[in-house]
């Protein structure tokens, strides 16, 4: 290619690459990362740390769901189930291995990845051949089955009571390593940082996946399946690939979640509310944006944290009206209405809408040089 003048596309790409480290987006990412790292030192409140850890986990889980829904255009109702599979892998291995060792965590992670990959391949191979809708229905049925299995297979999962377990060595909640600059170094804090590292790695992996050639093919399939087929891409394989990849990441998120809580039960990691939460987050953040996951997860998790206060407010405002109290108890109802409204009127979510605006501005600049 030497001696050839670069094409306009190549020139534009080079220009963008040169600006890579000065873009506002990059600076925001850097600032966010710094906050996450320094957070526990600056604000030694367990409530905040708990919130941030959950937001990180769900941001990645939602982003991986976005790979399936937003980038591939198929609906998987089993994303919560994969999350649960990961969570139960960690919980069961840690619970049943005495004494628990570091390599058990690694083993659990591998097991989570393996199981979810196999299950995802089987489900998608069966149902993606036909129509994306079949996939939605099959995943819904299988996810419900796993939820019931979590309850019924009580010899393994302890049913409704759930599994509580201890993490090995320095990750154990009881472990303490003195203090550094006034911050208590303990098992909790180290799990937080473990979650931070893994979540950031997974997130970067997701972003790279979307920007890779495979990601571009997926977008092409979503926008026009026939054309992608005509260009010679095996649509089915790409769909299976993205489903498996997204599900696998979800199961790893579940593993992190289990480590953070040291406890799992069928309702929190396998139930429908979890799946609905993920759906809500992805819709609010914006489909097909990956970064929307962070916003969506942050919004919902923060709202969930403050809703009990809202309930107390409702109680004090209408102390006698039983109906209002019941209404305040059912905050999922509010989320549901919010969800329907955003699907109808705000289908691109926060990040999607912002990106559209930026794109319009950019085009306008190009139009008037």
């Amino acid at each position: 290619m030497t001696g050839q003048a670069p094409t306009p596309v190549q020139m534009e790409r080079q220009r963008q690459r040169a600006r890579r480290y000065t873009r506002p987006g990059f600076l925001i990412q850097l600032a966010l990362l710094a906050c996450l790292v320094a957070g526990p030192m600056l604000m030694p409140s367990f409530r905040v740390m708990d919130l941030v850890a959950k937001i990180m986990i769900f941001a990645v889980a939602v982003a991986s769901f976005d790979i399936i829904l937003g980038y591939t255009g198929i609906i998987s109702f089993a994303h919560g189930m994969f999350f649960g599979l990961g969570a139960y892998s960690v919980a069961l291995i840690c619970h049943y291995s005495q004494p628990v060792q570091y390599h058990h965590l690694l083993l659990a992670g591998l097991l989570a990845a393996l199981i979810s990959a196999v299950v995802a391949v089987v489900i998608s191979a069966l149902s993606l051949r036909v129509k994306a809708i079949f996939f939605a229905m099959v995943t819904l049925a299988v996810a419900e089955f796993c939820h019931i299995l979590g309850y019924q297979w009580s010899s393994l999962t302890k049913g409704e009571d759930g599994v509580s377990f201890k993490l090995p060595g320095v990750f154990n909640a009881d472990w303490s390593g003195g203090s550094l600059w006034g911050t208590q170094i303990n098992g909790r804090l180290l799990v937080y940082y473990l979650i931070l590292v893994v979540a950031v790695l997974l997130f970067v992996g997701l972003v790279r996946f979307v920007r890779s050639p495979v990601g571009r093919v997926l977008k092409a399939i979503r926008d026009n399946e026939q054309r992608a087929t005509a260009l010679g891409y095996r649509v089915f394989r790409y769909r299976v690939l993205s489903t498996v990849f997204g599900s696998l990441v979800s199961s790893l998120c579940g593993a992190l979640f289990a480590m953070w809580l040291s406890y799992v039960n069928p309702d929190t990691v396998l139930g429908t509310p979890l799946m609905l939460n993920i759906l809500l987050m992805v819709i609010i953040g914006g489909l097909g944006t990956v970064y929307g996951g962070i916003l969506g997860a942050a919004f919902i998790k923060i709202a969930e944290t403050w809703l009990p206060d809202l309930q107390k407010l409702a109680l004090s405002l209408w102390p006698k009206v039983e109906f209002m109290q019941r209404l305040a108890e059912r905050w999922i109802l509010l989320f549901g209405i919010l969800y329907i409204l955003s699907v109808l009127f705000f289908p691109k979510g926060v990040v999607g809408t912002l990106r559209d605006r930026a794109e319009v501005r950019r085009l306008r600049r190009l139009g008037r040089p």
Binding site: S127, V130, M137, F145, L279, G336
Partner: protein, 270 residues
């Protein structure tokens, strides 16, 4: 209708609660638990009627407010009806309670017949008769009447049907209402049969409905009928042998059917 409605389970649950509420109210008059045979039959009929009405009203509301905006977009249909189903289930919890409720059933409907040593639950007979009647009715309307022709044509091409002079939007609203009303009647019958209802019953039954439709093939009433028979039989046999794996057995059937016929038993490739 080419609409994927995941809120169907919610109609089912609403029907059950409507029937429950009516039976409760009538029991205040002494019709249900202590009433005569006539009062018992009448109260069950009223319960079913209430379910029919509530299903129709909910269907009308949902179709007009939400579904009409997402015709032709399956992805949004799935997303939005999932949300609607969640909201409807939550409203049940607000109006009644999140806990199980016991349905009062007229004495004349409990108990069973004893035919040559085979014990048949009385209400089961009613359920089978109503089910067959609905199936025959739906088949007759779809295949033989003008309305059936319009509906089938509208599923294929709304625009052409409109230009032939039919207000397809109104017709589809009606069809959706009918579907919702039938689901609600099914729900109230289920409630009377089981004598217990929960807000989550919609979701549980939706799974069965989905498996039935996947096995039978979408858009085929006969296929659904076949699928329902298979699912029902398998569920009962396995539930008898290994109760915990009953749903698993159905999923296994679904998987096998999808392997052999990816479009379902009676489904046609589109």
């Amino acid at each position: 209708m080419d609409v994927l409605n995941l809120a169907h389970g919610a109609f089912f649950a609403w029907g059950a609660y409507a029937g429950f509420a009516v039976l409760n109210a009538l029991n205040g008059l002494g019709w249900v638990e202590t009433g005569t045979l006539g009062q018992g039959i009448l109260s069950v009929l009223l319960a079913l009627l209430a379910a029919l009405a509530i299903g129709g009203v909910l269907g009308l509301f949902l179709e007009r407010v939400i579904i009409q905006r997402v015709y032709g977009d399956h992805l949004k249909q799935i997303l939005i009806t999932m949300g609607a189903s969640m909201v409807l289930a939550e409203v049940i919890k607000v109006l009644w309670s999140p806990n199980n409720q016991t349905v009062l059933v007229p004495l004349s409907f409990t108990g069973s017949y004893d035919v040559m040593d085979v014990v048949i639950n009385k209400f089961r007979v009613v359920a089978i008769v109503v089910g067959l009647a609905v199936y025959a009715g739906v088949m007759a309307v779809m295949q033989k009447t003008k309305l059936g022709i319009i509906i089938r044509a509208g599923v294929e091409n709304r625009e052409v049907v409109q230009t032939l002079g039919y207000n397809i939007n109104r017709i589809f609203t009606g069809v959706f209402m009918a579907g919702a009303a039938l689901a609600a009647v099914g729900g109230s019958m289920w409630g009377i049969f089981r004598e217990q209802i929960t807000p989550a019953m919609g979701d549980e039954n939706l799974i069965f409905a989905l498996i039935v439709v996947i096995i039978g093939g979408m858009g085929s009433v006969t296929g659904s009928f076949l699928g329902a028979c298979m699912v029902g039989l398998a569920f009962n046999y396995v539930a008898y042998l290994v109760p915990k794996l009953a749903l698993g057995a159905n999923i296994l059937i679904m998987v096998i059917i999808l392997l052999i016929k990816p479009w379902g038993l009676m489904g046609r490739e589109q």
